[in-house]
C-alpha cells in the first residue's frame, strides 16, 4: 500500500477525533464521528481486514451516526460543557 495515503488518512483520523471531542455543536460532533468511522474503515481496508472495514462502514459510519442524530434531535443540540 502507498504509505503516503496511510499517513494522510492517519492525520485526518486524529484531526476528526479531536474535532468530534471539542466541537460545541453536538450534531456537528455526530457528523464528525461518522467521518472518523469512515476514515477508520479506509484504514482497516488498507490493512487487509476487509470484513472489519465492511462492519465499520455499515455500523460505525452508517447506523450509529443516524442513532446519534436521532438522540441529538430528541435532546439538546448544544453541549453543556
Amino acid at each position: 500500500m502507498i504509505w503516503q495515503i496511510e499517513i494522510v488518512i492517519l492525520i485526518i483520523v486524529i484531526i476528526l477525533a479531536i474535532g468530534a471531542l471539542s466541537v460545541k455543536d453536538l450534531l456537528g460532533a455526530a457528523i464528525l464521528f461518522g467521518a472518523y468511522s469512515f476514515m477508520m474503515c479506509l484504514l482497516w481496508a488498507i490493512m487487509g481486514a476487509v470484513d472489519v472495514a465492511f462492519t465499520e462502514a455499515s455500523v460505525g459510519a452508517g447506523v450509529s451516526t443516524v442513532l446519534f442524530v436521532a438522540a441529538v434531535f430528541r435532546t439538546s443540540r448544544r453541549t453543556e460543557d
Binding site: M47, V50, D51, A53, F54, T55, S58, V59, G62, V63, V66, L67, V69, A70, A71, F73, R74, D81
Partner: protein, 276 residues
C-alpha cells in the same frame, strides 16, 4: 475537574502507547498469534468447512460461541433500550397537525378537536413543520428495495466475499431506517411494528441457539454443524457450510430487528408517535 480529566487521559494514554510498543510489528510472521493458530486455520479451514472466506469460517464455526454471545449482546442492547426509553402508558393526544393533500393547507387541531384519522384527504404530519418532499420520498421508494436486496446478498454471500450476518443485518435495518426518515415514523411502524421487531430479534437469537441445541440432540457437540449432515442429506463438510449459513441468517434477523428497535425508540423518545 476538566484539568484533572485531561491529566488522567494523558497518563493513561501514554501507558497504553508504552504497552503497545511491546507488540509484534504488523504482519510479523513469527509473532505468537500468527505462528500457532493462524496456520491451522489457513491450512485446514477449507477442508473442514468448505468455506473460502476464512473470516466467516472462523467467526461462525471455529468461534461459534463467541458470535452467538455477540448476537445475544446486541439482543440485550435492544431490550435494554426498550426498558430505558419506551413509554408504555397511553398519553393524552395533544395538538396535532394535518395536511390537506390536495391543496397543501396545514390544519392545526387542538386538544379535544376531531382528528381526521381515517380520512384519505388528510395526512398527519409531525409537530415540527414538515415540507413537501416529493423528490426525497420518490428516491427512497426507488432505492429501498435495492438496499434490501444488497443486504440479503451480503448475508447469503458471506461465505465467498466480505460480509455476513452482522453487516447484512445492519444494511437491512438501515433500509428500514431510511424509509422511516424519508416518510415518517408512523408509516414505518405500520410496515414493521414494535411487536414484530421484538419477535424477530428473539427469533434470530433462537435460530442461532436452536441450531446448537439441534446439534446436541443429534448427538454431537453444541454448534458442531457436522450433526446437520444427516438432516440436510449432505456430507459433513458441506453441512458445516450450510450450518454457517443458517446461523448467519439468524444473526442477520436479530441485528436488523434490533437496529430498527433502537431507531424507533431513540427517534421518538419512546413514544412511537412522532419521529425524526
Amino acid at each position: 475537574m476538566k484539568i484533572g480529566g485531561l491529566i488522567l487521559v494523558v497518563i493513561l494514554g501514554s501507558v497504553l502507547i508504552y504497552g503497545s510498543l511491546e507488540f509484534p510489528p504488523w504482519g510479523d510472521p513469527v509473532s505468537p498469534a500468527s505462528s500457532h493458530l493462524s496456520p491451522y486455520y489457513i491450512e485446514t479451514s477449507v477442508e473442514d468447512t468448505s468455506v473460502p472466506n476464512l473470516v466467516t469460517a472462523v467467526l461462525a464455526d471455529y468461534r461459534g460461541y463467541d458470535t452467538m454471545f455477540e448476537t445475544i449482546v446486541i439482543f440485550t442492547a435492544g431490550i435494554g433500550c426498550i426498558f430505558l426509553l419506551r413509554i408504555f402508558r397511553k398519553e393524552e393526544t395533544g395538538t396535532r397537525l394535518y395536511r390537506h393533500i390536495a391543496t397543501g393547507i396545514t390544519l392545526r387541531i387542538e386538544k379535544g378537536g376531531k382528528f381526521p384519522e381515517t380520512s384519505a384527504a388528510f395526512e398527519r404530519i409531525d409537530s415540527v413543520w414538515v415540507p413537501h418532499d416529493l423528490i426525497v420520498k420518490t428516491t427512497c421508494r426507488l432505492i429501498v428495495p435495492f438496499i434490501q436486496i444488497f443486504g440479503l446478498y451480503v448475508i447469503a454471500h458471506g461465505h465467498h466475499s466480505p460480509g455476513g450476518g452482522f453487516q447484512g443485518g445492519v444494511i437491512l435495518g438501515a433500509a428500514m431506517i431510511l424509509y422511516a426518515v424519508a416518510f415518517n415514523l408512523r408509516s414505518a411502524i405500520q410496515r414493521m411494528g414494535e411487536r414484530l421487531t421484538v419477535m424477530l430479534s428473539t427469533l434470530g437469537v433462537f435460530i442461532y441457539a436452536g441450531t446448537g441445541v439441534l446439534c446436541m440432540l443429534l448427538g454431537f457437540n453444541y454448534l458442531d454443524y457436522s450433526a446437520l449432515a444427516s438432516l440436510l442429506g449432505v456430507d459433513p463438510v458441506t453441512a458445516h457450510s450450510h450450518g454457517i449459513l443458517i446461523v448467519e441468517i439468524g444473526v442477520g434477523i436479530a441485528v436488523m430487528a434490533v437496529m430498527v428497535t433502537l431507531y424507533y425508540n431513540l427517534a421518538s423518545a419512546g413514544k412511537h408517535d412522532e419521529g425524526l
